[in-house]
């Protein structure tokens, strides 16, 4: 097996829920040793909370959401509320290249995980802090919150609604995932910097700032023109028709995004060139853009006669950019995702056979990433505390009794 690019890199990972774990997942899949530090005092909410327990049977090792976010890692227990627990955590930090944490600032201070504290333990450590709105600045630096709150603070939800409608929420917890890949890139740049200069550093990443940088049309329009764009539904600055349209069945939709005259002609041909399409107003891109509501009303009537996946194939075959809106069942059935190699199969001792999402990129020289099973809670206590820190079995047993390794 080809050597993975991050073999030899060690990450002590105090993070939980989504953004930190998703970042650490990249490290783990690419060969870094990721030691996830957890505690029964404050379990990763994804192990216990959300409703995705294998076969609806509760248990800290059975959550599908936790599995999707934590494969390839090791898990140890440390109760950071105890002095001894923090001391052992620092022993791990001393032997690590990276620390990841995503607590709200007051908790980070309480747990002894600020950059200043960690730097005192290991001067060249690279600390990745992922937070709502950053850990420096004014009052919001102290706030508790999660991904969507960052999006709402920086205007994303206000801009998410239907044309002229109230603010709405973007699906899932978008900022958590958006920041994970952005952080991964910058963390590797920081590693490169450390290897060249010996200098570690703090990456004080703000989900709000990542979201700002990923909606430049809105911010640049404001900076250039003082305009607040607000809600625009599915209107594009350029393309029309550009929307999601109803299809046959319950809550089934197709997305169509037409730019050029050729694509428009192709769409008209697939529809059988009905008379309305020949309106002179629709003959140019600008004309279609100005009249997009009228076109959408016609298209709605046409698309609803067809199956969303079949219609997408037909339109694509004719050269029209279109795609089916897939639901949670359909993504697992999708042939393209299987052939491309998006999924991998987990054989889990409690949850059985499950299909998990892999990393969404392929590297030709690295045909296989580290997709080892997500760790059970505390699965690697002995391996890490004995193997890495050199504690005796008696010492480990005592620390367990004292609820330090807990």
């Amino acid at each position: 097996m080809a050597m993975l690019p991050l073999e030899g890199v060690r990450v002590t990972d105090f993070s939980w829920i989504i953004n930190g774990p998703q970042t650490a997942l990249w490290f783990a899949a690419m060969g870094a040793e990721v030691i996830k530090v957890e505690s029964r005092v404050y379990l990763d909410y994804m192990r216990i909370g959300p409703p995705a327990m294998a076969d609806d049977i509760a248990g800290p090792n059975r959550s599908g959401i936790f599995h999707n976010l934590n494969y390839g890692k090791k898990s140890v227990n440390l109760n950071l509320a105890t002095a001894k627990g923090r001391e052992l955590a620092y022993e791990l930090v001393k032997r690590s290249d990276f620390v990841i944490e995503c607590f709200a600032a007051p908790h980070t201070r309480k747990l002894g995980l600020t950059y200043e504290q960690l730097k005192a333990v290991k001067p060249d450590i690279i600390v990745i802090s992922v937070s709502l709105l950053g850990k420096t600045g004014l009052e919001p630096a102290q706030w508790v919150g999660w991904g969507p709150m960052a999006a709402s603070y920086v205007g994303m939800f206000d801009a998410q609604g239907y044309l002229g409608g109230p603010p709405r929420q973007t699906g899932g917890t978008w900022p958590d995932y958006a920041i994970a890949t952005a952080v991964m890139f910058h963390a590797l740049a920081a590693l490169r910097h450390r290897d060249r200069t010996g200098e570690g550093q703090w990456i004080d990443a703000s989900m709000g700032e990542t979201v700002i940088g990923e909606m430049p049309e809105w911010f640049m329009d404001y900076f250039m023109n003082g305009r607040d764009r607000r809600q625009r539904g599915n209107r594009d600055d350029f393309l029309a028709p550009h929307n999601t349209y109803p299809c046959k069945g319950d809550d089934k939709w197709i997305a169509i995004a037409v730019g050029s005259d050729e694509e428009w002609s192709a769409l008209c041909r697939v529809m059988g060139t009905p008379a309305w399409t020949q309106d002179a107003a629709f003959s140019s891109q600008l004309g279609r853009w100005k009249n997009s509501s009228a076109i959408d009303a016609r298209l709605n009537e046409w698309t609803r006669q067809y199956d969303h996946r079949e219609l997408a194939r037909t339109l694509q075959a004719a050269g029209v950019p279109a795609g089916p809106v897939l639901d949670s069942v359909e993504v697992y059935q999708d042939e393209h995702l299987w052939e491309w190699g998006y999924w991998w199969e987990l054989e889990h001792h409690e949850a059985g056979k499950r299909i998990l999402p892999g990393l969404p990129a392929k590297l030709s020289a690295i045909p296989k990433f580290n997709y080892s099973p997500p760790p059970d809670l505390g699965e690697h206590n002995h391996e890490v505390f004995s193997g890495l820190l050199g504690l005796t079995d008696e010492a480990i047993a005592r620390l367990m009794d004292e609820k330090v390794i807990y």
């Binding site: 050597m3 690019p5 995705a52 294998a54 076969d55 599908g64 999707n68 919001p140 919150g145 709402s152 205007g155 939800f157 206000d158 801009a159 109230p166 603010p167 929420q169 973007t170 699906g171 958006a178 920041i179 890949t181 952005a182 991964m184 590797l188 740049a189 920081a190 590693l191 910097h193 060249r196 200098e199 570690g200 990456i203 709000g208 700032e209 700002i212 911010f219 640049m220 329009d221 404001y222 250039m224 607000r230 550009h242 999601t244 349209y245 319950d250 730019g259 694509e263 950019p321 795609g323 897939l326 949670s328 993504v331 697992y332 052939e339 949850a351 990129a361 590297l363 030709s364 020289a365």
Partner: protein
């Protein structure tokens, strides 16, 4: 010293995905040479917003943002002389970023295999809608399409009351291409790590759809682990998690767990409707979501946004304001953090821009302005590759640069 100041990148890409990936490298100090079509340049040069809404190829807000810190050369790579210049640039580069349809570079004789023979250390990153293999490989993509297919796209907006009226929406901007760009940038850095250890270049296949799908891990797990299809309806969800109107705007909060529900009641002055014993447990609140939600919504209307947020946070409640973009752009916290940077540009003038997605404290680097179309032709094609003034004018006359 910037972390990537010894990395040379060729960017042969247009619009959002490839250029955003190139920007991330450029803003961290890499030399990014952007190859544009002679005469017209990157499509995003024709994309709004423009100052005063007057189109100008040097003033697109989208282009100016996505192409900070880069150099621009114009090159017609469909002509042999242009392709030859491209090869010479690639021979000395560490990374090529491209976002053309699969097979396009092969047709020009500039595909991964050909470039790898020329420069075995080169990392090529191809950002496409669907990837280099599979039945959709040759499908026409568009940001809306990759987004809509991604499950996160199905689930936007959340908390749907009437699925017949509320069609799936794209997030503002080009979210799928942005996700493809940051994923590609992370994967490219990993390929560079691999090269430092082995000397070996490689080809990175980074599709925007898969990158966006990867943000739906919760929605996927609901089906894969319980066999229950995920649906986007409000029914059964509840407990906040959506913008809620207050007296002067909206707030965003949740009340799933007991501690948060208690804090919310305190914040709202203990409205009588919420004191029912039925609502003391998580299950009780979920079973009576309609009643609880209505009572909370009514009470919120008595208070202002900033007051709710500041008192709520002090009570330990995760609660935030729902600001508009204009408000965020003037927000003191974001300004204090350096979330925006001022950049001067010869055509567009001095403007504020969003800063980098993530910043490093030991190596702060500020993006510099985007290049004019072909601004670096003489520096890169002339001085660096050694073409003389006469050859350059011949290339120009021929439409090659």
């Amino acid at each position: 010293m910037k972390p990537l100041d010894d990395i040379k990148v060729i960017e042969f890409a247009e619009m959002v995905s490839g250029p955003m990936c190139g920007k991330m490298f450029a803003d961290m100090g890499a030399e990014v040479i952007k190859i544009e079509s002679p005469g017209t340049g990157d499509q995003s040069r024709r994309h709004p917003p423009f100052p005063g809404d007057i189109p100008h190829r040097e003033k697109s807000g989208l282009f100016l943002y996505l192409n900070t810190s880069k150099k621009s050369v114009t090159l017609d790579v469909t002509r042999p002389a242009g392709a030859n210049i491209f090869r010479r640039l690639a021979a000395n580069a560490d990374l090529l970023i491209e976002n053309h349809p699969p097979g396009h570079l092969d047709k020009l004789g500039l595909g991964f295999e050909a470039l790898h023979r020329l420069n075995p250390r080169l990392v090529v990153v191809s950002i496409t809608p669907f990837g280099q293999k599979g039945p959709y490989r040759d499908w026409k993509g568009s940001d809306l399409i990759e987004w809509a297919m991604s499950l996160t796209g199905y689930n936007t907006p959340t908390m749907v009351d009437d699925p017949k009226k509320e069609n799936p929406l794209r997030a503002p901007g080009h979210p799928a291409e942005m996700m493809g760009a940051t994923t590609a940038a992370a994967a490219a850095m990993l390929a560079l790590c691999h090269r430092e250890r082995t000397g070996e270049g490689q080809w990175v296949d980074a599709p925007c759809w898969q990158a966006t799908l990867n943000t739906a891990k919760v929605e996927m797990a609901v089906y894969a682990y319980r066999g229950v299809p995920f649906n986007r309806l409000r029914a059964g969800a509840g407990a906040g998690l959506e913008p809620l109107p207050c007296r002067d705007g909206y707030v965003y909060t949740l009340w799933t767990v007991d501690a948060h529900f208690e804090a919310l009641k305190e914040l709202l002055g203990h409205p009588e409707l919420l004191e029912d014993d039925l609502f003391k447990t998580m299950k009780g609140r979920a079973d009576n979501d309609d009643v609880v939600r209505l009572a909370i919504r009514q009470a919120l209307l008595n208070y202002d946004m900033d007051d709710l947020v500041s008192r709520g946070q002090a009570l330990g409640l995760p609660i935030g304001a729902v600001y508009t973009v204009a408000h965020a752009a003037e927000d003191e916290h974001l300004k204090t953090r350096g979330a925006f940077v001022e950049i001067d540009h010869p055509a567009a003038g001095s403007l504020r821009y969003p800063a980098q997605l993530v910043r490093l404290n030991a190596t702060p680097s500020s993006p510099s302005r985007a290049p004019l179309l072909g601004e670096h032709n003489e520096e890169v094609i002339g001085r660096r590759l050694g073409y003389g003034a006469e050859e350059l004018s011949a290339f120009r006359a021929d439409g090659i640069i």
